[in-house]
């Protein structure tokens, strides 16, 4: 399963990663190896087999909707590199 340079670039864009030319080339070679191995899953006969996303047989875990103590806006923004008055600052969006 060789992966092309264009595919690496496309996926990097989807994942919001800006890779250098060198990184892209290394990524292309290494991912081709890994994908070849991963593609072995297609050899398995899975006719009529349901997919497993999760192994614990729990569904709809509910709790009462009660007010509890929470962190303050100041704490919530305390780890941001740029925050003001309990809000996150970002560069221009448009």
């Amino acid at each position: 399963m060789a992966i092309s340079m264009e595919e690496v670039e496309h996926v990097a864009k989807l994942a919001r990663l800006a890779l250098s030319g060198e990184e892209k080339e290394a990524m292309r070679c290494q991912l081709s190896d890994v994908l070849e191995h991963a593609h072995r899953v297609s050899e398995v006969d899975t006719e009529g087999v349901l997919p497993t996303s999760h192994v614990v047989p729990l569904v709809n875990v509910f709790r009462e909707d009660v007010v509890r103590p929470s962190i303050t806006p100041f704490e919530a923004t305390g780890n941001a590199s740029w925050a003001e008055e309990g809000a996150f600052r970002v560069p221009r969006i448009l």
């Binding site: 989807l14 990184e23 997919p51 780890n79």
Partner: protein
């Protein structure tokens, strides 16, 4: 008293009996850390002052006749992907180099309530992605048995700390073998519990359907005791199993006669080094000597477990790690005049290391249009087959066994540029995570002078039996060797 060579429960007893103080215990380990950290690098941050203060507080409580918890004053190392309120939690990444959580992970809260003293945050592969602790932004951890070799990973710091006497026990996490594989390579005991037995609240997510926190210790008794502390339902984790609390340590009696043990063919022969197989087979015959019935079982889907894992885990990781965008926490790369899209791209490109980027790209690829069914859909069906094969096996056998790793610890740098070879070092441990069942690794001897791990697997919530078989085997094997580091 040679405190750093005591096991954790012996330290707890010595403090309870007043033979040593909590300060004595913490000081002894902090001194040991100062002595060997320059070589081992098991910790990302050591909490010298906080640990000393907390030990003093516990001694004060004891002096006043108050109860600081059943394991009062016992030090512990905590893998650096578990949130610790007010203390840096880096996940081994530049992205979180200065991140200070505002709440404790549930397991961190529980070890604190039991009276333990956190010595520091243990080194790890970046975001737990790796099998050698070489992908840490803070430099690799070295194996105390031979500093030219890796400690395994991703919980390599936790394993090396326990092995080198820098902590009596530790918390790790295991997504594809990240507790058991480093435990094996460092000659200690490590357990991945049943998925949902231990809360994931405050564990920084890698692959949410596979991640599980677990104990790492010098022996099975300590491992069982630490599991008892951290296990149990937590309303803050919606995947937490509402199961009764079990006294795992109290149930260790070594009585295993008549239990059936199955050697898993697919992960106990081909691809395993001869030296590892020799120690493994010797340990299996010890199980027979204990009166267990040994058989061989073939679980054919295991041949595809690694492939399925390297679709499912990166897929979940690519989604989980989308949150690191430089806005709400962690590293941000900013430049004059740039827009938010450029900021995202640069932040993630500089903040993440190459293995993390590789997995994000891989995960994004297998989830992208045109590939989703062939990879992710199919991998989840293979996962179902693995779950069912385990279920069928446990109708006949009480426990299944295999070597924990295909080789002993490899040399630093040997596999770091060859991801697929690195991934293969988890071939024996990965099926367990896909099925969500419990498994333990315990040392079963040395090969080429390095520790070999023996893996015992049990059915979901079968921890007590797995631990008891491990306990019986441990006393039969009598493995009590310690690494040579810093010892005269």
């Amino acid at each position: 008293m040679d405190i750093i060579n005591l096991d954790a429960l012996a330290i707890a007893e010595s403090i309870r009996e007043g033979e040593i103080s909590a300060v004595d215990a913490t000081t002894a380990f902090l001194e040991r850390i100062r002595e060997v950290e320059a070589i081992v690098n098991a910790y990302i941050n050591v909490s010298y002052e906080e640990a000393a203060r907390r030990a003093e507080m516990i001694d004060a409580m004891l002096a006043e006749g108050r109860d600081p918890g059943p394991l009062a004053g016992v030090p512990i190392a905590v893998k650096d992907l578990l949130s610790t309120r007010g203390f840096t939690t880096t996940c081994g990444s530049r992205m979180l180099e200065n991140f200070v959580p505002v709440y404790d992970a549930t397991v961190v809260g529980r070890v604190g309530e039991a009276g333990m003293v956190m010595l520091g945050k243990a080194n790890m592969d970046e975001f737990a992605m790796g099998s050698s602790t070489e992908t840490s932004y803070f430099g690799p951890t070295r194996n105390p048995w031979n500093p030219d070799t890796v400690p395994g990973g991703s919980s390599g710091g936790s394993a090396a700390a326990v092995s080198a006497g820098e902590a009596p026990w530790a918390l790790g996490s295991d997504t594809g073998g990240s507790i058991r594989q480093p435990a094996a390579m460092c000659g200690i005991v490590g357990m991945k519990p049943t998925y949902g037995l231990v809360s994931r609240y405050g564990l920084v997510a890698f692959a949410s359907s596979l991640d599980q926190v677990g104990p790492m210790a010098r022996n099975v008794g300590d491992c069982a005791a630490l599991l008892g502390v951290i296990a149990g339902h937590d309303p803050m984790d919606s995947t937490s199993i509402p199961a009764e609390k079990v006294d795992y340590q109290g149930r260790l009696d070594g009585e295993v006669r008549g239990l059936k043990v199955g050697v898993v063919k697919e992960i106990s022969s081909r691809g395993i080094d001869e030296g590892v197989l020799e120690r493994f087979r010797a340990a299996v015959s010890k199980l027979e000597g204990l009166g267990m019935e040994v058989g061989e079982i073939s679980l054919p889907s295991f041949e595809y477990a690694l492939s399925a894992y390297y679709v499912i885990a990166p897929a979940e990781a690519s989604s989980n790690l989308a949150r690191f965008d430089g806005v709400r926490y962690g590293f941000r790369a900013s430049a004059e005049g740039e827009d938010i899209w450029e900021m995202y791209d640069r932040t993630r490109s500089i903040g993440f290391g190459s293995e993390v980027k590789r997995r994000i790209i891989l995960g994004t690829y297998v989830l992208s249009a045109g590939y989703y069914d062939a990879y992710y859909g199919q991998a989840r069906k293979v996962r179902t087959l693995i779950v069912k094969e385990f279920e069928r096996a446990f109708r006949t056998y009480d426990v299944l066994v295999s070597p924990t790793t295909p080789s002993v610890a490899f040399r630093l740098g040997e596999k770091v540029d060859d991801p697929l070879t690195m991934y293969l070092s988890d071939m024996c441990t990965i099926p367990v995570n896909l099925a969500g069942i419990p498994a333990i690794s315990l040392p079963c001897g040395l090969s080429e002078g390095m520790p070999v791990g023996f893996q015992l697997m049990g059915p979901a919530l079968g921890e007590a039996t797995v631990l008891n078989v491990a306990y019986a085997l441990e006393s039969e094997l009598g493995f009590d060797q310690r690494p040579p580091i810093g010892r005269s």
